[in-house]
Structures are given as structure tokens and as C-alpha cells.
């Protein structure tokens, strides 16, 4: 009998149908992967299974009983353990405190010693050894994930849900995680493994369900579906890995990064003695698993983060210690990863957002006075050119859809024809149509002879757009390839840090 059986699940947020006709069956002892692009509705499904959202229609049958969880506690009590993509851990508390939190309420004594002993024992039993007295904030990410898994098992989970568990892991930690998943299956505990990475899913799962646009569209045992087939179902059309049409122009160097070392906020070295250059008319794609120093590198180039060592030159000028404003002036454009947090002032109008990075200069202001008419004219032009909808430039950006918000950022950065555009995950969370539009604009900028540093977690995007591809791992640039001279497999291998810089001949 199936442990979990989901039929016809549906969830609507306002106008948006997040999940519809979702069906899923999980057998005991198996690992079942749910595969889908960002925004395919995987997270919504998980939140309904774990009691955070209430379904608008459909049924969840778990462990032989029809379930209608009204809060996470009920799901936990029923035996569903979820490890969310963003860990639900409390950094200031210890491992043991995090694990036992919520099990006992009331004014009774919290027996620290006993809790720590229990957690130590359990974690060793399942092969995830942990020091229960350490504070979670002092643990590396891989360890924190262990805490999450142990937390679920401590609550006697009969089913474990892992939401994008490898996004933050190093390859070694990913291997360890797969071990743990197999171990759990042997104990009879099934695992739902959510991912958008084909190769991982094929490595760990017994069965695969593909989600697209909020629906489950395909299900199969792992052996009987090819990668192409899965990709087809994920994207909804044949995926052609476009090769680049024209040859690399060998222009002058625009960006050069030399021996760069950068630390993150917690004083961990994230970029380690890295050097590379981006040339005129070139898209340099930077691939790598999330958290390998890409964020810190980009922040050091754009001026948001201090560099500890080394230098950054733009068109031969040393900008290592220039302010953000100075770098904007010298021709750096930047599409940040988190557009709502970093790229936009949501209550400001479209017109106001389009001048965010140049408000002090003509034509947007003269002698300190805002030139509202000029700003409006500029905005109206860009709204047409980049097809930002609706066309009302006085509308607050917060009222636009994600795709149109991204277009506002893109329009702002492109309109200045920057010498160097740093684009981080420029198509994250967008639909296919919007993605193609943004790709077209990036390629157009390249044709003008401008340079682009493209940072993306999606190999497909890197392969579609880049002239050269660099791979980052653990703060190092481990390999640089010309596009067309490298296979996906080779790239994947480099991303795990298996290839050293010398072998790749960078």
C-alpha cells in the first residue's frame, strides 16, 4: 500500500493558480524525486503536504488516513518530516535545543543533558554524527542540514521531504547526503527529493515525477526515462542546446580581476586568489554550485563588498577601492540576483526606479534639482523598448509581475550601454517567454561590443549565451573553456571541483 497518495491537489493565490491537478503516490522505502523548473509549483506542493498551506481542492491520503492538516504540528505528529530549502533552524540555539523544540510544551523542566544525549545517540544511529551542544550558527551549511534531518527523525518521521537539498551543498556533502537517503530507504523511510537538477535526480531517486506550471505532467521509474525525455517534460518543449553562431572576437580586455581574495560577512574566505579577464564583445559565463563564492565575487566587482587582497581593473583603470557610484559612472551595469531586495525600490514608480543608479547626474537632475519631465520621457521610451507592462510609468514597481520587474532592472542597466554588465541569474523564476526576451537583449548588448559577466546556476543558460565559460568551486576558478569545446559532463565535473585549474589549461 502506498504511504502517501495525493489526488487532484489545487492551490490558488489570488489570480495565480500555483498548483492544479497534482497527483503523487509514494511507496514505502523508495526515494521519489519531484523534478521541475523554478516556479513549477514544487514548493507550494510541499507546503500543502507539511500543513503550511491548506489545499483549495483535492485529497491527501497519508498512512491510511485522509488528512486535512490545519497547521504544521499536525503534519509532524502524523509523521511527515520536511527539510525546507531555507533551513528552519534557530541560529542562536544549540543543536539539541533545535531538535527537541516544540516536542514538549509547558512549564516543565527542559532537561539539557538528557536532550543532548538523545540527540547524540540518534544522530550516530542514522549516520549523521552531530555535536548537540554547539550553537547552530557556528555550524557549516552541510551540518545544519544534518540537524534538520535529525530533527525530522527525532519526531519519528515516516516520510522525509527534502526541498532542493543540494543547492547549498558541496559535492562531497551531496555524496554524503545521497548515502543518508539510501540508508533511510533501507530503514523503510521513503524520501521525497525535490530538485531541478536532472543528473542528481537520476543518481538518487527510484521514481521521478515531473511538475510543470503547477501540474504533475509525467511519472516514471528512474531507469525508463531518458534525460531528454525528462527535460522535455520539465520545459514543455524540445530543448535544443543552441550552439553559438558567431566566433569569438578577440577585443581589448574590459574587466580584469587579479589575485582577488574576498571574505563574507562572517569572515570566511569565499573568493580565494582568483584571476580572470573579460574581453570586449564577450559573454563570460561563470558556472558553479550556489555558495561557491559567486555572490562575493560579484559584490567585490560591483563595489558592494570590500576586497581583502588583489585588484579589479576596468578598462585598465584600477577600481579596486572605488565606491559603487564611481563604478556606475565608469560603466559597470549590474543585474543583482535578488531583484526585489537589491534591485528595486518597490514603492517607487517605474520612472523613479529607472533612474535609481543615475539620479545625481544629467538628465535626471541638474544642480541637485530633480528633472521629473526628463525622467518621465526616459521612462516612457524604455517602457516601449523593453515591453514593460503596463505602460504606466507612474505605477509603483511593486505592483508589477516578476517578469516585468526584471525588465525594469534590465532596461535601467541596458539603457546606459555599460562597458561591463554583471548579470546574476538574470532569468531566475521567469517564464520561458520572458527568458527568451532577456537573452535576446543580452546578446544585443554583446553585439554592440560590450562585455557581460554572466553568473548563473543553470548550466543551460551558461551554455546558451556564453563565449567562454569559467567554473567556480570553493572560491577558486577551477577551469575556463571556450564554449563548444566542452561537454555538460565536463562542466559538471569541474563544478564539483574534480578538475584543477592546471588540467583545464586556464
Amino acid at each position: 500500500m502506498a504511504l502517501l497518495e495525493i489526488v487532484g491537489l489545487r492551490k490558488v493565490f489570488g489570480q495565480v493558480v500555483a498548483n492544479d491537478h497534482v497527483n503523487l503516490t509514494i511507496q514505502s522505502g523508495e526515494t521519489h524525486a519531484i523534478l521541475g523548473e523554478n516556479g513549477a509549483g514544487k514548493s507550494t506542493l510541499i507546503k500543502m503536504i507539511s500543513g503550511l498551506y491548506k489545499p483549495d481542492a483535492g485529497t491527501i491520503l497519508f498512512d491510511g488516513t485522509l488528512r486535512n492538516f490545519s497547521n504544521p504540528r499536525e503534519a509532524i505528529v502524523a509523521g511527515i518530516g520536511v527539510v525546507h530549502q531555507h533551513f528552519m533552524l534557530i541560529p542562536a540555539l544549540t543543536v539539541a535545543e533545535n531538535v527537541v523544540l516544540g516536542i514538549h510544551g509547558g512549564w516543565g523542566r527542559y532537561d539539557r543533558k538528557r536532550a543532548e544525549e538523545q540527540v547524540r545517540k540518534l544522530s550516530e544511529e542514522v549516520g549523521l554524527p552531530l555535536d548537540p551542544s554547539r550553537k547552530v550558527e557556528d555550524l557549516p551549511v552541510g551540518m545544519q542540514q544534518r540537524v534538520e534531518i535529525v530533527k525530522a527523525l527525532y519526531r519519528q518521521a515516516k516520510l522525509l521531504v527534502l526541498d532542493e537539498p543540494t543547492a547549498v551543498l558541496t559535492p562531497q556533502e551531496t555524496e554524503d547526503l545521497f548515502e543518508v537517503v539510501h540508508h533511510l530507504n533501507q530503514e523503510g523511510i521513503p524520501v521525497i527529493f525535490i530538485s531541478h537538477k536532472l543528473d542528481e535526480v537520476r543518481a538518487v531517486a527510484h521514481k521521478i515525477t515531473v511538475m510543470r506550471a503547477g501540474k504533475t505532467v509525467f511519472e516514471s521509474p528512474v531507469g525508463s526515462a531518458s534525460a531528454e525525455q525528462l527535460a522535455y517534460w520539465m520545459v514543455g518543449r524540445d530543448v535544443v542546446l543552441q550552439t553559438r553562431r558567431d566566433a569569438v572576437q578577440s577585443g581589448a580586455t574590459v574587466l580584469s580581476v587579479n589575485d582577488l581574495t574576498v571574505f563574507d560577512d562572517r569572515h570566511t574566505k569565499k573568493v580565494d586568489n582568483m584571476s580572470f579577464a573579460v574581453k570586449e564583445g564577450e559573454i563570460f559565463g561563470l558556472a558553479g554550485v550556489d555558495g561557491n563564492g559567486q555572490t562575493e565575487l560579484v559584490e567585490a566587482i560591483t563595489g558592494l563588498r570590500k576586497l581583502a587582497h588583489g585588484s579589479v581593473h576596468l578598462q585598465g583603470k584600477d577600481i579596486s577601492h572605488s565606491s559603487v557610484a564611481k563604478r556606475i559612472e565608469q560603466g559597470i551595469g549590474y543585474i543583482p540576483q535578488d531583484r526585489q531586495r537589491d534591485g528595486l525600490v518597490l514603492p517607487f514608480s517605474i520612472a523613479d526606479n529607472l533612474q535609481l543608479r543615475e539620479v545625481s547626474t544629467a538628465p535626471f537632475s541638474k544642480r541637485g534639482w530633480l528633472q521629473k519631465r526628463a525622467a518621465k520621457k526616459h521612462a516612457q521610451k524604455l517602457v516601449e523598448e523593453f515591453d514593460i507592462r503596463p505602460r504606466d510609468v507612474d505605477l509603483p514597481v511593486g505592483d508589477l509581475s516578476g517578469g516585468n520587474q526584471q525588465k525594469v532592472i534590465l532596461a535601467r542597466e541596458m539603457a546606459r550601454h555599460p562597458m561591463l554588465l554583471v548579470a546574476v541569474q538574470p532569468t531566475r523564476g521567469l517564464d520561458v517567454g520572458a527568458i527568451e526576451g532577456i537573452h535576446k537583449h543580452l546578446l544585443a548588448l554583446r553585439s554592440e561590443g560590450r562585455s557581460i559577466l554572466l553568473v548563473s546556476l543553470e548550466l543551460d543558460e551558461i551554455l546558451t549565451l556564453s563565449d567562454r565559460i569559467g567554473v567556480m568551486h570553493a572560491g577558486h576558478l577551477v577551469a575556463v573553456y571556450n564554449n563548444g569545446e566542452v561537454s555538460r559532463e565536463e562542466l559538471g565535473l569541474a563544478m564539483t571541483g574534480e578538475i584543477t585549474a592546471k588540467e583545464a589549461g586556464a
Binding site: 560591483t302 563595489g303 558592494l304 565606491s323 559603487v324 557610484a325 564611481k326 563604478r327 556606475i328 549590474y334 543583482p336 531586495r341 537589491d342 534591485g343 528595486l344 525600490v345 518597490l346 514603492p347 517607487f348 523613479d352 535609481l356 543608479r357 539620479v359 545625481s360 535626471f364 537632475s365 541637485g368 534639482w369 530633480l370
Partner: protein, 356 residues
């Protein structure tokens, strides 16, 4: 137009709720709310002198609230404007009783500039830098600085350097050359009114017509995006709290050059706190601040008349003020009530359908 109506409706609801609940409390205490409000209104607006005094009371509120609104617009909560008001007052009075030989057109500006600089430094430098450098919360630091300012003011006139000769703990009065002229005889209304109204226009222009104001607002809405936009967020934090303090300091200066003339040993104006309410009610809109200042000044200036004629304690106006702040802050309450009512309606309709 619709937007304007929407932004006006919440403060209006809050004021009405405050007055109604105030009336209920009075009724419970066996007072006649109609006659209480009647005498309150008469006390505030009953004759030209009363109107003059109400307007006079609105001046320091207006200036201080403008400062608080600038900070709010930058996402900062200057809760210590009261202290900045007092350092402004101290500076203005100090300049005011010295330099007796100076002509008024030097003396008054000098005293006011001193007040602004003092308020700006007090509000901007320590809380601003602490926030910008180590993230110390400005609510706490401005509040603490405010208490320090008030103790400093006490010290100044209790055997401190600003105490006048003799045994009474107060400062010497300012000279005639530093005094702002009264513009309505027999009332407290001084030429400070023009200064306050000018400040309203200046702040409006500063916030919405200059790139500096754009930057202040951008920092307030989203510090991350502002940083990404190349704006030095730390600097704008200091500047915003500084401007806030400048305006609160100016309020203290104007009040003492125009109405009080010398420091006495009671340092409880309450303007710094009421001004927060004014800014909240006006939703940080400079012109709204003019109206809200007059409203709260009227509550205060009419309360004495209310106490005398209808016996209701003048503190009743604080009760009403508290309720108004509460309902402005609990802005979701109205939506919450509407939602609950609608739910009940739906349930009632459903019941009817089931029954039939």
C-alpha cells in the same frame, strides 16, 4: 484623487474614533461630553486670541514633526526629538541673553542657527553614527540622548553655567534684540509662524523635488537597493537624523525666542512626543503636518477651558491622543473589522440558503 482620499481616510477614522471613545469615557465618568467638547473647541478657537494661541502652540509641533517626518521618510524613527528640542532651546537662549549689543537681524538668525546646529548634532551625530557604523537602533539611542539632554538642561540652570544670579534655578531672559516679534497682540503668536510655514515648504521641496530628497526616500524604502544604486546609506542615515534634529532644535529656538524667553527649571514640553503623533497622523506629508499640528495644539490649548467650564480634567486630551495614535498604528484594524463583518454576512447568507 482616489489616492488622496485613501491617505486621508485613515487619519480621519483615527481622529473620529479617538473623539468618540473619549466621549464614552467621559460619559462613563458622568461628564457631559458635548459640553466638554464644546468648551474645548471654544477654548481653542473661540476668539482671535484663542486662535492665536492655538496657532502659536502649533509652531513647535509643526517644526518638530517635520523633522520626525524626514527621519520616517528615510526609514528612521527619531523618538528623541524632545531632547533635541531642549538642546536647541538651550543654544538659542544662550545666544539670546549674550551679545546684547548685536542688531536683531544678526542676533535672531545667530540664535536660531545655534539652535539648529545643536539639535542637529544631538540628533544626528551620536544616534546617526551609531546606527550607520554598528547598527545601534535609533529608537533607543535617540531616546537615551533625549534623557541626557533634559538632564543637561536641568544641570545648566541648577547651579550650572546658564543659571542667572541669585537662587532661582532659571536662566537670564534673552535680550530684546533676540526676541521674535509678536504678530497678534495679547497672544503668544510670534513671527515664528512664518518660519514654521517656510520650513514646511522647504521640506516639501527638499523631499520631492531634489535628488537629495529622492535619495533620502530611496534609503528609507530599501537600504539594499539604495546601496546598490550607489548611495552611501550610512551618510544618508546620519544626514537624515541630523536634519531631523536640526528641525527639532529650530522648534526649541523659535519657541524660546518667540514665547518663553528664558529657561526655567521644568523641562517637559511634550512637543517631541506629540510631534511623533502629528507626523504619523499626517502620514509624513509636510502639508498634512500643518493641519495635524493645529489639531493637536487645539486639543492642548482648549483643554484648560474644558477643565474650567465642564470640570473634565485637562488630561482627557492625552487619553484622546493616545487612542488616536493607537488607531493610526493599528491601521489594519479597520480592514480586520470589515473582514470579520463580511465573514459574518457570508455565514448568515449561507445559513439562510441551508434553511430554505
Amino acid at each position: 484623487m482616489k489616492k488622496l482620499f485613501k491617505s486621508l481616510s485613515l487619519p480621519l477614522y483615527a481622529v473620529i474614533t479617538g473623539l468618540v471613545l473619549g466621549a464614552i469615557i467621559m460619559a462613563i465618568a458622568k461628564y457631559n461630553p458635548w459640553s466638554a467638547y464644546g468648551s474645548l473647541f471654544a477654548g481653542a478657537f473661540g476668539n482671535p486670541i484663542a486662535i492665536g494661541n492655538t496657532l502659536a502652540g502649533a509652531i513647535p509641533l509643526m517644526l518638530t514633526a517635520l523633522g520626525i517626518a524626514v527621519a520616517f521618510r528615510t526609514g528612521l524613527f527619531n523618538i528623541g526629538a524632545e531632547g533635541q528640542y531642549w538642546v536647541g532651546a538651550m543654544a538659542a537662549v544662550f545666544i539670546g541673553y549674550n551679545f546684547a549689543s548685536m542688531p536683531w537681524y544678526f542676533h535672531i538668525p545667530l540664535a536660531l542657527i545655534a539652535a539648529m546646529v545643536a539639535g542637529g548634532l544631538w540628533g544626528g551625530v551620536i544616534p546617526g553614527l551609531a546606527k550607520a557604523w554598528v547598527g545601534a537602533h535609533e529608537v533607543i539611542t535617540t531616546m537615551m540622548m533625549s534623557y541626557i539632554a533634559i538632564l543637561l538642561a536641568h544641570y545648566m540652570v541648577e547651579k550650572g553655567p546658564m543659571m542667572q544670579q541669585g537662587f532661582v534655578p532659571q536662566s537670564p531672559p534673552i535680550t530684546a534684540s533676540a526676541t521674535l516679534p509678536t504678530i497678534l497682540t495679547n497672544s503668544n503668536l510670534s513671527a515664528g509662524l512664518y518660519i514654521a510655514l517656510a520650513a514646511v515648504v522647504v521640506v516639501q521641496i527638499l523631499l520631492f523635488y531634489t535628488s537629495f530628497g529622492y535619495k533620502l526616500r530611496a534609503v528609507g524604502h530599501n537600504g539594499f537597493a539604495a546601496r546598490y544604486g550607489g548611495l552611501p546609506v550610512a551618510l544618508y542615515t546620519v544626514l537624515s537624523l541630523g536634519i531631523s534634529g536640526v528641525l527639532a532644535g529650530l522648534a526649541g529656538g523659535v519657541q524660546f525666542l518667540g514665547v518663553d524667553y528664558q529657561l526655567t527649571d521644568t523641562f517637559q514640553s511634550g512637543y517631541g512626543y506629540t510631534a511623533i503623533v502629528v507626523a504619523l497622523l499626517a502620514r509624513n506629508n509636510p502639508f498634512g503636518i500643518v493641519l495635524a499640528s493645529i489639531f493637536f495644539s487645539a486639543l492642548s490649548s482648549g483643554s484648560q477651558m474644558m477643565q474650567i467650564t465642564s470640570g473634565v480634567s485637562a488630561n482627557m486630551t492625552d487619553v484622546i491622543t493616545g487612542i488616536i495614535i493607537f488607531f493610526v498604528a493599528a491601521d489594519r484594524l479597520y480592514a480586520y473589522i470589515l473582514r470579520t463583518l463580511r465573514k459574518k454576512q457570508v455565514v448568515a447568507v449561507a445559513r439562510k440558503e441551508v434553511q430554505s
